[in-house]
């Protein structure tokens, strides 16, 4: 059995304008020690997925309306808040995008790390402090023992994210959820933090879910990838298979829209922009949610009338589209779709 098994999870926001289906029936699993990347653009539901797993969605207006989240054999959706609190931080930890707003500016980082340790373990203040120093050393903060009594504002963005990682690791979680962990950081700092996360994941034998909008970040950090669009999973595969043979028109377009750093004719070339923008999730398109922006949708198909199911086009490669790349080769010419 996998460490985490999410089945048909649905999280809706009940707003004055109507029901917003932020996460609309998604299923996936994460094996022990593996890294899953969830990638998508703003509003696709990737962060709400993470918050739903953690039981941290704001209720109301949000509510988990369907599905189960089985973690190590327990359904987190049904778990009472009290027991969820014991589990959070200890079994599953999370780090967020903005390391400044996640740390309390009025407490020293030492207080904030030991607080987490003492919440979950019955240890003395002194022992917790010793453990905190070890953790800071592990995330490679220089002069850890001195820095323990500093306030967050004395740390740079990259160092603050290291502090957040230290807090997340303080109870040796089995699963670490990282929501855009490096988005606020400079590219050289991002590289260092990603390398650190990779080392720690191996040393602690943790599973990790890394949520990002950056295709480059998932390419380097993930074993498996979910591509989300408008609250649904549109493609799911191993990292190599996804980048070698992207199947969903959205995934292809997303990769085409990325400016390249290496290659020829970059300056004169054009990026393949995706026309339009993601749908409104209060009244999404009736069938395929990508159909209005899809270059392959046409009058003769069912894209605007039947919701495509997530189906396996190759071993381990799932796609939700009537026009996956592998089935398009011959059909595209007759249908007159762009190559």
């Amino acid at each position: 059995m996998a460490l985490l098994e999410v089945d048909n999870l649905g999280t809706h926001f009940f707003t004055r304008e109507g029901v917003l289906r932020a996460v609309d029936g998604i299923s996936f699993s994460v094996e022990r020690g593996q890294t899953l990347g969830i990638v998508g653009e703003s509003g696709c539901g990737k962060s709400v997925t993470a918050l739903s797993i953690m039981g941290l969605i704001p209720q109301p207006p949000a509510k988990i309306v369907s599905g189960t989240v089985m973690f190590d054999g327990t359904d987190l959706v049904q778990l009472p808040e009290k027991e969820l609190e014991d589990l959070r931080g200890r079994e599953i930890a999370m780090i967020f995008q903005d390391p400044m707003t996640c740390l309390n500016p009025t407490l020293t980082i030492g207080t904030q790390i030991t607080e987490t340790i003492r919440r979950h373990y019955d240890v003395s203040k002194n022992d917790a402090r010793k453990k905190a120093i070890e953790l800071l050393e592990e995330v490679q903060i220089p002069r850890a023992a001195e820095r323990l009594d500093d306030y967050p504002h004395r740390f740079s963005g990259g160092m603050r994210q290291r502090v957040m990682i230290a807090i997340a690791l303080s109870c040796d979680p089995k699963l670490l959820i990282a929501d855009e962990p490096t988005t606020a950081l400079d590219v050289t700092v991002q590289a260092a933090v990603l390398d650190l996360l990779d080392d720690l994941r191996q040393r602690h034998d943790m599973a990790m879910i890394i949520i990002t909008h950056d295709m480059g970040v998932v390419a380097e950090a993930a074993d498996d990838i979910l591509v989300m669009y408008a609250g649904q999973i549109v493609e799911q595969a191993s990292v190599l298979d996804l980048f070698d043979h992207p199947e969903h028109p959205y995934t292809e377009a997303l990769l085409g829209a990325l400016p390249q750093i290496e290659g020829e004719g970059i300056r004169d070339g054009r990026l393949t922009a995706i026309p339009g923008r993601p749908p409104d999730l209060i009244s999404p398109p009736p069938a395929c949610r990508f159909a209005p922006r899809c270059p392959y949708a046409n009058a003769n198909d069912t894209c605007t009338s039947v919701m495509p199911e997530l189906r396996e086009v190759r071993a381990g490669h799932w796609v939700r589209s009537a026009h996956p790349a592998c089935e398009r080769a011959g059909a595209a010419i007759t249908a007159g779709a762009p190559a």
Binding site: A191, M215, E220, F243, L258, Q260, R270, A273, R277
Partner: protein, 294 residues
Amino acid sequence: MSSGNDTGGTLDALLQVTDLHKHFPIRSGLLIERTVDAFRAVDGVSFHIDEGETLGLVGESGSGKSTTGYCILQLLKPTSGSVRFMGKELTELGREDMRRTRRDVQIVFQDPYASLDPRMTVGDIVAEPLVVHTIGTRKDRRARVRELLDVVGFNPSFTNRYPHEFSGGQRQRIGIARALALSPKLIVCDEPVSALDVSIQAQILNLLKDLQRDFSLTYLFIAHDLAVVRSMSDRIAVMNKGQLVEIGAAEDVYTKPQDDYTKALLSAVPIPDPRAMKERKAARRKLRHALAEG
């Protein structure tokens, strides 16, 4: 260390920046504040931009790239150095002369949420530069606004709406239309796409390229994203701690970087290719150790 400054500009360059400095005072003291030191945000930068080309200015946060842009537009007063634009020394211009010169040099800002006045309609925002420079009659201006919005791919029938009704990409189009209103020669693009999603980012980058071709614009393109800068620029300048560490043809800077900082920066970029990433990861760890020790 070799300086990345490009001093070989010609007299006919559209913009020639020479030994530009911008220092911010660091003050100290409780009751009587004294200037104790200076933060050198821009510390001796020289480069030129020829008509019709794009110079990419890339660097990490705090490198001084935006401050450089502001000093060119005289939105910040440079501490010293020269900014020659179309033969005029901008640092010596009076208020009124500078105001007139701004017809030819405009800026597109990073955050389309903060750079548009929420109380003005889209039409008024785009028309404002025309009003300030008293160009055309009210009727002419209305026609020009519709034309500009059409050019940037924004539905001209929405001129009476307010910015908050639009997404980030649409707002950035409004900002670009405003920058184009006075038919400038040079546009300073300060992180124009960093607040946007990838698919929308591609739309805006393509738009900027089309506009450059159609209106023979010259760009100073400031950004932190190395791939974005590469896709836009003819030449690229790399900035670190207030100085240019390297400048050259885009191709050369990216394939044969000379400076260690440029190398570290390029090696840190995650690329959407899992196989290549394995090698890149090993290489960047090595470079980081080398930089830390050296």
